[in-house]
């Protein structure tokens, strides 16, 4: 039962974070895998080229709608003004500073998530008693919103870096944990038998068989975890911070510097896209032995 909730849990998470046309391969869910394979062929180049005109139209509208007075220019400056503001922020070094701080917070939280979730997931997936004991607590924690916990983190850890890292950690750790567990559980028992027949020690079994066999599932979880920690850090910075992209956006809105606000939002979009492409590339590299790409590029 615990296994089922996890599987469905992670499947639900997929829907939460996967936009249209996006699929993430999850071990042992043949339907998802199959559709992902078909999509990946079309998606890799075709979608990008076919999608450009509509994106271009969107940017064009953004440019002309405020100029023609369809939208209030104060709240919604034309794209060209946003780009000018963006360039100014970039040239002054302010933007880079904010980006660096946000990415650093997300990265530290994510890294902590990896360090905690993978060993824990290996144990929970392998030893059923361990899972039986800890499953309910994990389910309880992971169904509590990280943003609801931000005040708690602030009370416990203060307004500084620690509370931001805590929220990014909390946002990433469960995706990693759940996918590590399901990866471990879906390791082909025959491979374990073969490893044992060659006299593999318990430690080597984890290191050389169970962990590598779980990598596709773990990496799929890592994709969700990275996005989740990026979202979380922006949210946290908008609520309680004096730096970072979330702060930049929130503060620009308060100051009515709307061009700066949109520049911050655009920056986030670019970062999100870039990180996603990097993660897809990493996933392909890490699972190259499967022979076929199982994820789409978007």
């Amino acid at each position: 039962m615990a296994y089922l909730t996890e599987k469905f849990g992670s499947a639900r998470a997929l829907h939460l974070f996967a936009g249209a046309g996006e699929t993430v391969a999850v071990a042992r869910v043949p339907a998802i895998k199959a559709s992902a394979k078909i999509r990946s062929k079309k998606a890799s180049h075709g979608t990008f080229l076919y999608g450009l005109p509509l994106l271009g139209l969107f940017f064009l509208l953004w440019e002309i709608a405020p100029r023609l007075g369809w939208l209030n220019r104060i709240f919604f400056p034309p794209l060209s003004e946003v780009l000018v503001a963006w360039w100014a922020l970039l040239a002054s070094g302010v933007l880079i500073e904010h980006i660096g701080i946000s990415l650093q917070r997300a990265a530290i939280g994510f890294a902590l998530g990896v360090v905690v979730a993978i060993p824990l997931g290996l144990l929970m997936g392998r030893y059923s008693l361990f899972e039986k004991v800890s499953d309910l607590l994990v389910q309880t924690l992971r169904n509590t919103s990280q943003f609801a916990l931000l005040p708690v983190f602030i009370l416990l850890l203060g307004i500084g870096e620690e509370s931001k890292v805590a929220i990014t950690f909390y946002s990433s750790v469960f995706f990693l944990l759940v996918n590590t567990i399901s990866g471990v559980k879906s390791v082909d028992p025959l491979l374990i038998k073969a490893a044992r027949s060659m006299g593999t020690s318990d430690f080597d079994l984890f290191r050389k068989v169970i962990l590598p066999a779980s990598i596709p599932s773990i990496v799929a979880g890592a994709r969700l975890a990275v996005k989740s920690s990026l979202f979380a850090v922006i949210g946290a910075e908008m609520l309680a911070a004096k730096s970072g992209l979330g702060f930049l956006i929130q503060n620009s809105q308060l100051m009515m510097e709307t061009a700066d606000m949109y520049a911050g939002i655009l920056t986030l979009t670019v970062i999100g896209l870039t990180v996603n492409y990097l993660l897809v590339w990493f996933e392909r590299w890490a699972t190259a032995w499967k022979g076929q790409s199982e994820t789409s590029l978007i």
Binding site: A194, A195, M198, V209, W289, K290
Partner: protein, 278 residues
């Protein structure tokens, strides 16, 4: 000299709570798959094990390989009781069981890696074995880039990497097409002729059993025990043509004769067979 001595081995499986099977008209949650197996295997001998589905051939192999504990009796390898996988034993599975994230070379190296062999030495051994199996040039291929026959060659090479004194093979060629199967039977005999490892080979194919073996061990239907051991007195080295010979046909008739009743019995036992058919 006897290398492996199997004495009075029995194995009973306890089903999961709530699961029952009907044995001789009675519902039970315990299934006896092996009951009093005695078998002595000489050093360097090639033994094939045939028997109907559910006769516990694979379970017997697992017990000899130290992967499963017997419920009763014991197995000795060179006079020592087997309780866990022995470094002197290699195991080959029907479904190859190669690590898909490792290349052909790295799969073979694995067997040496977990035994603490130094990197340079294990690479050299693995390369040599790949060449021996006609797979030079395929070192860097992942298993899913190899055909079934090639994968099984790699799996056999991996089992031989540690220079085992006993090679256990569980229907290793059952998933292959007929031509590849016969090709690999020939290759196996060729390589076995060079290294003289003791082999226990489980198969469903009577032809394969006769072609490979010094002795064919016929198992009874469940609960499995040794029904008869047939000495195969065909000259070695053997090639494919031997299958057409009169002696081979006589052996074929003989093995089938011994096996027929047991297969019929096993057919009636079909309620159990899915769970133990492997």
């Amino acid at each position: 000299m006897d290398r492996i001595v199997v004495s009075d081995i029995s194995k009973t499986f306890q089903l999961k709570p709530g699961q029952f099977v009907t044995v001789d008209g009675e519902a039970t949650d315990r299934v006896t798959v092996l009951d009093g197996v005695d078998l002595s295997i000489r050093k360097g001998e090639f033994i094939t094990l045939v028997g109907p589905s559910g006769s516990g051939k694979s379970v017997l192999l697992d017990i000899v390989g130290g992967l499963t504990q017997a419920t009763g009796g014991d197995v000795q390898l060179d006079g020592r009781r087997i309780t866990r996988p022995d470094p002197k034993t290699g195991y080959v599975f029907q479904q190859y069981a190669l690590f898909p994230w490792r290349t052909a070379l790295a799969n073979i190296e694995y067997a040496l890696e977990v035994r603490g062999v130094a990197k340079a030495e294990r690479t050299a051994t693995a390369r040599h074995l790949l060449a021996l199996f006609g797979l030079a040039g395929f070192e860097d291929r992942f298993p899913n880039q190899l055909s079934g026959g090639m994968q099984q060659r790699v799996a056999i090479a991996r089992a031989l990497a540690s220079n085992p004194e006993v090679l256990l093979m569980d229907e290793p060629f059952a998933a292959l097409d007929q031509q590849t199967r016969e090709l690999l039977q020939g290759e196996l005999l060729r390589i076995w002729g060079k290294i003289n490892t003791t082999v226990i080979f489980v198969t469903h194919s009577i032809d394969e059993a006769i072609f490979l073996a010094d002795r064919v061990v016929v198992m009874t239907a469940r609960p499995g025990t040794v029904k008869e051991i047939i000495d195969i007195d065909l000259p070695r080295p053997r090639d494919g043509d031997i299958r057409a010979s009169a002696e081979f046909n006589a052996y074929r008739a003989r093995v089938w004769d011994v096996l027929r009743d047991e297969v019929n019995k096993a057919q009636k036992d079909w309620t159990l067979s899915p769970a133990f058919s492997h």
